[in-house]
């Protein structure tokens, strides 16, 4: 639990009313994705940039989504170093018309862990080019400050590896990032259940980004609704002002009038 008051979520001057960001990949069908995004109540959806298949040029993954209803956050997935990320970012800006960018540099295909050095290098270049950079990072408080210092709009530390659904394995580091950050903290990656999302917001995170947990659920729409409610519940808890945490018990019932009490002989 965090005593951190809940402030408006503002990224690069834009207020977002939902603290749940949603990825649009890996869904079984375009319809399932569009319905889950709708049910989540999100205002911000991530997209990826890929080569067109010249032999079969029609992409259908986003066909069912009304792109005018959501702010797009294109990612640089597939980039293995800073140069590839910068190239993808420029293409993404031209394709989507937004300067917002989820910067991710993941050279290792097994764990998809982000490369901190290449991410920082790319961030410096992209901020200078006018991008609104939301970097995906390991839960490293020092790196988070360095990225903030070079002008990133948020930091997006992982809870556990992308798509693993393992929850906030980095909780202690996330707490330090949240404590020190002067930009919004978005917990990205590894959030597998609504309780994980609630835990992140209760901890003091400003938002969460979820994709796989929705996409691979048997009923993505119901799962999206569950995440929406969990995030709202955690926000409400933050507003309610959580009580202190203590190592010792503190009775909830009155400490007087027990049946075993005896005050000596009476007439």
């Amino acid at each position: 639990m965090s005593g951190k008051p809940l402030e408006k979520l503002v990224i690069a001057g834009v207020e977002l009313h939902s603290r749940l960001f949603v990825g649009t990949g890996k869904f079984a069908s375009p319809q399932a994705m569009a319905q889950a995004v709708e049910a989540s109540g999100t205002e911000l959806v991530t997209v990826a940039l890929r080569r067109v298949d010249v032999r079969d040029p029609h992409d259908r993954t986003l066909a069912a989504l009304d792109l005018t209803k959501y702010r797009l956050l294109p990612n640089t997935s597939g980039a293995r170093n800073a140069d590839e990320a910068v190239r993808l970012a420029r293409l993404a800006r031209a394709a989507t018309g937004t300067a917002w960018l989820k910067l991710e540099v993941t050279p290792d295909p097994n764990y998809l862990l982000p490369d901190p050095i290449e991410t920082l290098r790319a961030a410096e270049t992209l901020v200078a080019e006018g991008f609104v950079v939301l970097p995906y990072i390991n839960a490293d408080p020092v790196l988070a400050k360095r990225l903030e210092d070079v002008g990133c709009a948020t930091v997006m530390p992982l809870g556990s590896p992308i798509g693993s659904n393992r929850g906030l394995r980095t909780a202690d580091q996330l707490r330090i990032i949240i404590e020190q950050a002067r930009v919004p903290v978005v917990v990205d990656a590894g959030i597998g259940m609504p309780s994980h999302a609630a835990e992140a917001i209760e901890m003091g995170a400003d938002a969460v980004l979820v994709n796989t947990a929705l996409a691979v659920a048997s009923d993505p729409v119901a799962m999206a609704r569950a995440f929406r409610l969990a995030v709202q519940a955690a926000e409400l808890a933050r507003q309610a002002g959580p009580g202190p945490v203590s190592d010792r018990a503190s009775a909830s019932s009155p400490l007087t009038g027990f049946l075993h009490e005896s005050k000596g002989a009476s007439a």
């Binding site: 990825g23 940039l49 890929r50 080569r51 040029p57 992409d59 993954t61 293409l91 394709a95």
Partner: protein, 66 residues
Amino acid sequence: MKVRLNGVDEVLDGEMTLDELVARLGIEPTNLVIELNGAVLSREEWPAHSVHEGDAIEMVRFVGGG
């Protein structure tokens, strides 16, 4: 004329601009962006650029992703 299109060698018949190439390939131009020899070109810029022998052309668009 030989070009490298999305990492594959392709032979194109005759002169054409980028918007003509997109139309000839039957590609829906929505959400599409082209990189011509490393330079990013948005849709408005395609008619002003012709394809030449040896060009490296990348056609990308955004798709579902996390």
